[in-house]
């Protein structure tokens, strides 16, 4: 694997640009192996009422090397700013006990409704302001609306994370034009400002597309955890990050309507 330039978000620097979730795996062993195969350094987790032990009384943390990974706690499942702030504080309290660097940050999700899991923009902005005042570095899940993305950056988001498509839908990047506008708008005078495409990834090409558009990284979960062969998909996602990053900087050719031969016309023996 090539070494890509490091990704900087708030007070943290990473070699891997792939963030991977820890939900939905068939077993903790499979999750552990997929995280390893993906090469990720950041993993997301959720905060829930304590009870979730498997049949052998094992928990997520028995399979997550908290010295290796930076844990990014999310506020998934919150439908109000107030609840998101509560969950963020609970997550920080737990990560401080683990002495994990993830204690200083949070992935903010304030959702609007259970069917679409689309973000509530007003609640998201309110929660961001409260979390910032409480000292969090906040990575903000949002829709692919360029206006909202700008508002979140201006309000102090450590990273704006537009969805490619709805959470867990596997539809990929549905509106590449909006992602491009977000990138242009947020990076215009601040080229190192981190924009992570979060949600909707179904397969490796979705990751490559996000990176080719100029995203700094991709956050995904279901695309790996629910693949037929999650371990192979984890590897594929890692390669896709690299392919997309390099292709973006290499500069793609413009799309043309008609063909353009690659072999010289001169010297052909056809007459």
């Amino acid at each position: 694997m090539l070494e890509l330039p490091p990704l900087r978000i708030a007070d943290k620097t990473f070699r891997s640009r792939l963030f991977v979730g820890t939900g939905k795996y068939a077993s903790y062993e499979l999750m552990r192996d997929c995280l390893d195969a993906s090469g990720c350094e950041v993993v997301t987790v959720a905060v829930r009422r304590e009870r979730l032990y498997d049949a052998q009384n094992r928990s997520l943390l028995d399979f997550l090397d908290t010295r290796r990974y930076t844990i990014l706690p999310n506020t998934a499942g919150c439908f109000s700013a107030e609840d998101a702030v509560r969950v963020a504080r609970l997550g920080r309290e737990i990560l401080e006990q683990l002495h994990n660097p993830g204690a200083t940050w949070v992935k903010l999700e304030v959702l609007a409704d259970k069917r679409t899991l689309l973000p509530d923009p007003i609640g998201t902005l309110e929660a961001l302001q409260a979390l910032r005042a409480d000292g969090f570095h906040t990575l903000v899940y949002t829709s692919d609306d360029p206006v909202m993305a700008r508002r979140l950056k201006d309000a102090g988001a450590a990273s704006v994370m537009p969805a490619g498509s709805p959470i867990g839908s596997g539809q990929g990047v549905l509106n590449p034009s909006n992602i491009r506008i977000i990138l242009e708008s947020l990076k215009n005078e601040d080229p190192d400002y981190p924009v992570i495409v979060d949600a909707g990834v179904g397969t490796a090409s979705d990751v490559s597309i996000a990176m080719e558009l100029g995203a700094d990284g991709v956050l995904l979960n279901t695309g790996v955890a629910s693949a037929k062969d999650p371990l192979s998909m984890a590897r594929a996602m890692s390669h896709a990050i690299e392919a997309g990053y390099l292709a973006c900087r290499a500069g793609r050719i413009p799309k043309k309507l008609y063909a353009s031969a690659s072999s010289p016309v001169e010297g052909t023996i056809v007459y």
Binding site: A46, V47, L60, L61, I94, L219, N221
Partner: protein, 66 residues
């Protein structure tokens, strides 16, 4: 006394009604964090946090998520 612990109504008989006494009884597996009536209570404050009838206690940990 009646408490609502992780959304479930429970009757508990604590000698001294503090958060520490409740947690000593339940023994959640660390790491965990605790809220009382929607306010985060930090570990050093468990012993001096009284519980009252009908209080809502949340005891949470980390689980898989995206």
């Amino acid at each position: 006394m009646k408490l609502i612990i992780n959304g479930q109504e429970e009757r508990v008989d604590l000698g001294v009604a503090t958060l520490e006494a409740l947690l000593d009884r339940r023994r959640p597996i660390p790491p965990f964090a605790v809220e009382l009536n929607k306010q985060l209570i930090k570990r050093p404050d468990f012993a001096r946090t009284p519980l009252a009838e009908g209080d809502r206690v949340e005891i949470v940990t980390l689980v898989g998520g995206g």
